[in-house]
Amino acid sequence: MHELALADSVLKAALSAADDAGMDRIDRIVVKIGELQQIERELFEFSLTTVLPAMDDRLAGVQFDLSEELVRFECRSCGTDYGRDDAGIEGDGDQDEAIHFIPELSHAFARCPSCGSPDFEIRAGRGITLERIEGSSEDDPG
């Protein structure tokens, strides 16, 4: 379950952003989950909500807003825009597993459905991104 490591990185990034913004408490963390990495959402969410918030008092009571983003590849050879289902990646096997660990390994397995090129850009839906945090400071006017 390297979902725990990914969740840990989200919270570290959120705490750093809170430091930058002078927040004493984080109320909401908005995270986007890319389809390509195929993370186990339940494990990821469990790590975020149950395992990790004890790492910092500013996370007490934090809410999470998770949304998923579909992967979009763009072929650098012919310009075709395509999704995971059209990329020829074998599901439920070693290819899926490799991409789960390192999404860029899709370059070893995915091919453009139009021209067969392995040279593509992952334009959306790669992995985990921290979209936004909401919180407040004790100095905020009540």
Partner: protein
């Protein structure tokens, strides 16, 4: 955070993941073919044999070969709170070859940067005396990324007596000096006869000369066999290149 701008969270975890690592040594050569992978792998093996806790991270994502040098089979790493490196021959080892086997991995610079960030963010290296990084050739994206992401990195440069290598290493030394990257020194590989160009370059650049690994025509037969590797001239030469 800047409104409307998302954050890639992975870089925030790297310092923690490497907190138990005492030294991070990047084995680099400005030119391809100078023997970085053989030196990196053999250095890791020699240090492990000395009883040190050693990690080996093959950063040549498009052409990994440390697993070939050390004769390590493909296999996914164990996954628990991150990924655990393979533990083989006393070395904690990570390579994309463990994930992809013999399949080619064509990566442009931004994709290589992402792969590096991902592995640094999720790999649990634990407590190590030394983490050896087998850097890709040149001074392109991955090398610059590593310099930026790992401020404790020390470079161990590899060169040989070829004019094209000397010219390339000289430029690499200039850049690393300009970037203020700590340098362990310059090691000569594939030394022949009374060649002194690498030693002279180290002297002129003001970096320690770490010695010469003699050219070994039988080395090819030792690749993939750690017992034969241990009997090689490379193994004898690299065991003490890291100053305390």
């Amino acid at each position: 955070m800047i409104p409307g701008k998302s954050i890639d969270p992975r870089s925030f975890a790297i310092e923690d993941r490497l907190a138990g690592v005492s030294r991070i040594v990047g084995v680099s050569g400005s030119k391809g073919g100078v023997g970085r992978s053989i030196i990196s792998s053999t250095l890791a093996l020699a240090l492990a044999d000395q009883g040190k806790r050693v990690g080996l991270f093959d950063l040549d994502f498009t052409s990994p070969s440390d697993h070939v040098v050390l004769g390590v089979e493909r296999g996914f790493p164990d996954e628990e709170f991150g990924i655990d490196p393979h533990f083989v021959h006393g070395i904690h080892m990570v390579s994309v070859a463990f994930f992809t086997g013999d399949t080619a991995v064509p990566l442009r610079g931004d994709a290589a940067t992402n792969a590096l960030l991902e592995l640094l963010a999720i790999t649990r290296w634990g407590d190590l005396d030394v983490l050896v990084l087998d850097m890709p050739p040149g001074l392109g994206d991955t090398n610059l990324d590593v310099i930026q992401l790992l401020p404790r990195l020390e470079f161990l440069l590899i060169g040989n007596g070829s004019k094209v290598v000397i010219d390339s290493v000289r430029r690499g030394l200039d850049l690393l000096t300009e970037l203020d990257v700590p340098m362990i020194g310059l090691l000569e590989n594939m030394h022949r006869g009374d060649e002194r160009a690498v030693e002279s370059l180290a002297l002129a650049a003001g970096v320690p000369f770490l010695g010469s690994v003699p050219y070994d025509r039988d080395l090819e037969d030792a690749l993939g066999d750690v017992d034969r590797l241990r009997a090689s001239a490379v193994y004898s030469a690299v065991g003490d290149v890291l100053p305390a």
